[in-house]
């Protein structure tokens, strides 16, 4: 699964990995805004952002080609808009949608690949994202594997009892399986909550390391935001 590699990468060590999560979140937001404000004909600017993201991947000691390849995951989501623009005779706009989508995806991937999930959540929380939202993200991330495994087991079991593979019965079985998965997930959520309370949980995740923004973080944050602002200014 894609996020297995992301998790492995997020636990590497590099100057970008050591940068405070809040600084990385703010820089990523800056990149997303800058990319989305870039006009379709500013191809050089798109190229600069692309090079910037490649450099960041190298600095993070990540396999940069894999990061760039994973950015393509965004293609199915922007494909509709791209096709509509192409059909409407506006290939430049189609290109811009594609470039913005791709660069944004790579920027977010870089954030996820250089920040462990608990640090990312703690960073989001200290930047004002509601704690409840962060907790939901945490549990979705943690239990996605189990949910997928359960779904695969149920699919296998239904295949064993439906050797002819007629579409309609299989679809009906799939609908039932979704309902069962929901019920099981609900039951598991209850049990996890009980297990958390049993170990003294009071509604706030505590970390072994307390994040702090050091002078180095401020310098990098300032430099990155300054560079993005300069790019906008020079357009």
């Amino acid at each position: 699964m894609h996020h297995l590699a992301l998790e492995r990468w997020s636990r590497l060590d590099s100057p970008l990995h050591r940068l405070d999560a809040r600084a990385k979140i703010v820089i990523t937001l800056g990149v997303l805004l800058s990319v989305s404000f870039t006009r379709p004909h500013e191809i050089a600017l798109f190229a600069i952002y692309f090079l910037l993201l490649c450099t960041a991947s190298l600095l993070a000691r990540l396999p940069w080609w894999k990061v760039l390849a994973r950015g393509l995951i965004v293609l199915p989501f922007v494909a509709g808009v791209v096709i509509l623009n192409l059909a409407g005779g506006e290939p430049i706009r189609a290109w811009a949608v594609l470039a913005r989508g791709y660069l944004s995806a790579v920027a977010v991937l870089l954030l996820l690949a250089t920040t462990t999930f608990p640090k990312l959540l703690r960073g989001l929380e200290s930047l004002g994202v509601p704690r409840f939202f962060g907790m939901i993200l945490h549990f979705v991330y943690r239990y996605l594997f189990l949910l997928v495994e359960q779904a695969q087991n149920m699919r296998r079991a239904s295949r064993c009892r439906a050797p002819q593979r007629r579409r309609r019965p299989l679809l009906e079985a799939a609908a039932g399986a979704v309902a069962v998965l929901f019920a099981r997930s609900y039951g598991r959520a209850e049990r996890i909550h009980q297990a958390m309370l049993a170990r003294g949980f009071h509604g706030h995740f505590k970390l072994l390391e307390t994040p702090s923004v050091g002078p180095r973080d401020w310098v990098i944050l300032g430099a990155a935001l300054g560079f993005l602002a300069l790019m906008q200014f020079l357009r």
Partner: protein, 236 residues
């Protein structure tokens, strides 16, 4: 000596009206290990959840001399460590180290103390090598041992275990039994595994329809209720 757990006339029914506990009396002495037997649905797990305030029924529960009320839930959860039946329910943090640290951090301990406890408890269960790994990459036996380390890191006086040998292969079960038998804490073990009970427990109690209908030596309870795998094969 005052028991570490004392339960008097505990009654509970679920919101749908199902009666789960109907007058349970029970006590556990310091350092003692008691096995809880009984059919599925007889109320054993419901009973365990009451001991740390995760379910609230009528009756009296005392943990280490203090009555269990909303204001003493934190105290009880520190004194009683619960090992749940499905380790995946218990291992919710992204890495083994963070999961074992979860309880001590909630107790308000400092980072250095928490790290010391995490290392000590992972050593105790032989899982130090997996400290940086994600729990879902572990085998069932490893998950169970990490979950136990998470419980031990809170330094409890009592450990409550719900079907600890479920899903474990024989070597993993053997490792778990060896670790459990080396622990000095009082233990309350819900189990269908009579061999595990024979090895670890000095006393057993039998649950039936939400009541403890008998307590005594492990062998005497197994004999009295024919609570082994050959029971169904015996002529009636």
């Amino acid at each position: 000596m005052e028991p570490v757990i004392e339960v008097v006339d505990l009654q509970f029914h679920y919101p749908d009206g199902t009666v789960a506990l109907q007058g349970v009396d029970f006590s556990l002495q310091a350092g003692e290990t008691v096995a809880l037997f009984g059919a599925n649905g007889s109320g054993k797990t419901t009973f365990l959840l009451h001991l740390v305030g995760l379910l609230k029924g009528r009756g009296q529960i005392r943990v280490c001399g203090r009555e269990l009320t909303e204001s003493t839930f934190s105290f009880a959860r520190q004194k009683i460590g619960v090992l749940f039946q499905d380790s995946d329910d218990q291992l919710f943090m992204p890495t083994v180290e963070e999961d074992v640290a979860f309880g001590p951090l909630n107790m308000g301990l400092g980072s250095d103390e928490v790290r010391t406890r995490v290392e000590r408890c992972l050593d105790l269960v032989g899982m130090r090598y997996a400290a940086g790994r994600a729990p879902y990459h572990l085998s069932a036996g490893e998950k169970r041992r990490v979950a136990l380390a998470g419980v031990l890191a809170m330094d409890p006086e009592i450990i409550v275990l719900d079907e600890p040998a479920t899903f474990l292969d024989p070597p993993a079960r053997g490792q778990l039994v060896a670790i459990l038998s080396s622990l000095p804490q009082a233990k309350l073990i819900v189990t269908h595994d009579v061999d595990l009970a024979r090895t670890l427990a000095s006393r057993a109690a039998f649950f039936e329809k939400g009541k403890i209908v008998s307590t005594g030596g492990v062998e005497s309870i197994i004999d009295r209720f024919q609570w082994d795998t050959n029971a169904a094969l015996r002529p009636r």
